[in-house]
């Protein structure tokens, strides 16, 4: 706990304890822990002297932040208008089936979090699926399995190294 506190304080001092840097600080914390732990938000609130409720307000406003622990990999399926007509929802369904979770949730082994997004701004290559920083264009139901396999495999390779 001590170590965590020091780490979080270091993120704050990085921005000279400035209130206006709140979002950047939250981004750093999110990157480190994959989500925003309650304790971390409390430390930010105390250090920056911003009421906790306001920080939670910001943290829940942006989709990029999560108050729940997220999986190692974040799968985002686009269900925006263009991707919707090209079968986005079907692909989402397939992911839900394969991972056995509903959109917005994380697999019990904490490997994958499944989310939807309403348009990523690249409709021409839809339906779009994004896993972490990898974009998959013109995905079909048949690709879903290979996408998951690829990221599971990467996982194993990383572990072996």
């Amino acid at each position: 706990m001590e170590a965590q506190e020091i780490k979080i304080k270091s993120y704050i001092t990085k921005y000279n304890n400035e209130k206006k840097a709140l979002i950047s600080i939250l981004q750093d914390i999110q990157e480190e822990y994959n989500y925003l732990p309650q304790e971390a938000l409390k430390i930010v609130s105390e250090t920056l002297d911003i009421p906790l409720i306001d920080i939670v307000g910001v943290a829940t406003f942006y989709r990029a932040f999560s108050l729940e622990p997220r999986g190692k990999h974040l799968i985002t399926v686009c269900t925006g208008t263009a991707c919707h007509v090209r079968g986005g929802p079907k692909i989402l369904e397939k992911f839900e089936d394969m991972l056995n979770i509903k959109a917005g949730n994380t697999t019990p082994d904490a490997q994958f979090t499944l989310e939807t997004v309403a348009c990523l701004g690249c409709c021409a290559i839809g339906p779009v699926v994004v896993v972490d920083t990898n974009y998959y264009a013109q995905t079909t139901i048949r690709n879903v399995d290979s996408i998951l396999k690829r990221h599971r495999k990467e996982e194993k390779e990383n572990e072996a190294n």
């Binding site: 009421p51 906790l52 409720i53 306001d54 939670v56 307000g57 829940t60 406003f61 108050l67």
Partner: protein, 238 residues
């Protein structure tokens, strides 16, 4: 001194006044819901809409947040204003038909139907409680969370807040956390019982003194008011 025109009358406003404050100063009534004199303005309920500008440039603005400006032309009761206001009441009623405050507004402004799906929610997101907590109770225990259709009022992490002192200020000011009015058609969306009451008691007396509070305020006391009954006698004599 700022000079503007409200409903065709020349009005003078102090620096920093809103349209609403100016109208009030001149005794013009504009209905409000999310506005409270003791709190900052929020402009969320759109009940206080007025029309500004002329011709094709005319537009609706919320008078509680719009500052009085030199040469501004304001109309508080145009058809457009009245219709939009009715729509806002209808929408709020569909969200929280159990609110006495909103039912009263419906009665007062002649909203007779609700064409939207009844959602029976506990909150119309007016933000009064949040401002009450922060500005009057020095609490900062509750606030807006999420956005879009998921927007809600809650404490951090939806658990008991560490800074809430249970003062009850938020509940006191909330227009939805109240008993439903007990109209004759109490289970339909619009009860409109107050429309059939003469006179509608609601504007006349202080909540705190009405012992009929829980029963939905009957209005009898208003009819007994000496001034009023004098007036009635006079009119019957004539």
């Amino acid at each position: 001194m700022i000079k503007l025109i409200i409903n065709g009358l020349e009005a003078n406003a102090e620096e920093g006044w809103t349209i609403l404050e100016t109208a009030k100063f001149y005794g013009l009534e504009i209905p409000t819901l999310c506005y409270n004199e003791g709190l900052s303005t929020y402009g969320g309920c759109r009940l206080c809409l007025v029309e500004i500008g002329e011709g094709s440039k005319a537009k609706l603005v919320s008078s509680c947040t719009y500052p009085a400006e030199d040469g501004l032309v304001v109309r508080t009761d145009t058809k457009r204003v009245i219709e939009t206001r009715r729509m806002m009441i209808e929408l709020m009623l569909s969200i929280a038909p159990n609110s006495k405050t909103i039912q009263d507004l419906a009665s007062k402004f002649g909203v007779k139907q609700v064409r939207f799906k009844i959602r029976n929610e506990e909150c119309i997101l007016c933000g009064l409680c949040v401002r009450m907590c922060a500005e009057q109770m020095d609490g900062r225990a509750i606030g807006f969370q999420n956005r879009g259709h998921k927007r809600k009022i809650s404490t951090p992490f939806d658990i008991k807040s560490e800074v809430c002192r249970l003062c009850g200020g938020c509940m006191y000011i909330c227009p939805v956390c109240q008993l439903r009015c007990q109209g004759p058609q109490a289970d339909t969306a619009v009860c409109n019982a107050c429309l059939t009451m003469d006179p509608t008691c609601l504007d006349y007396y202080d909540d705190l003194q009405c012992w009929m509070y829980d029963a939905g305020r009957c209005g009898t006391c208003v009819r007994e008011e000496p001034e009023k009954s004098d007036r009635k006698e006079q009119s019957t004599k004539q």
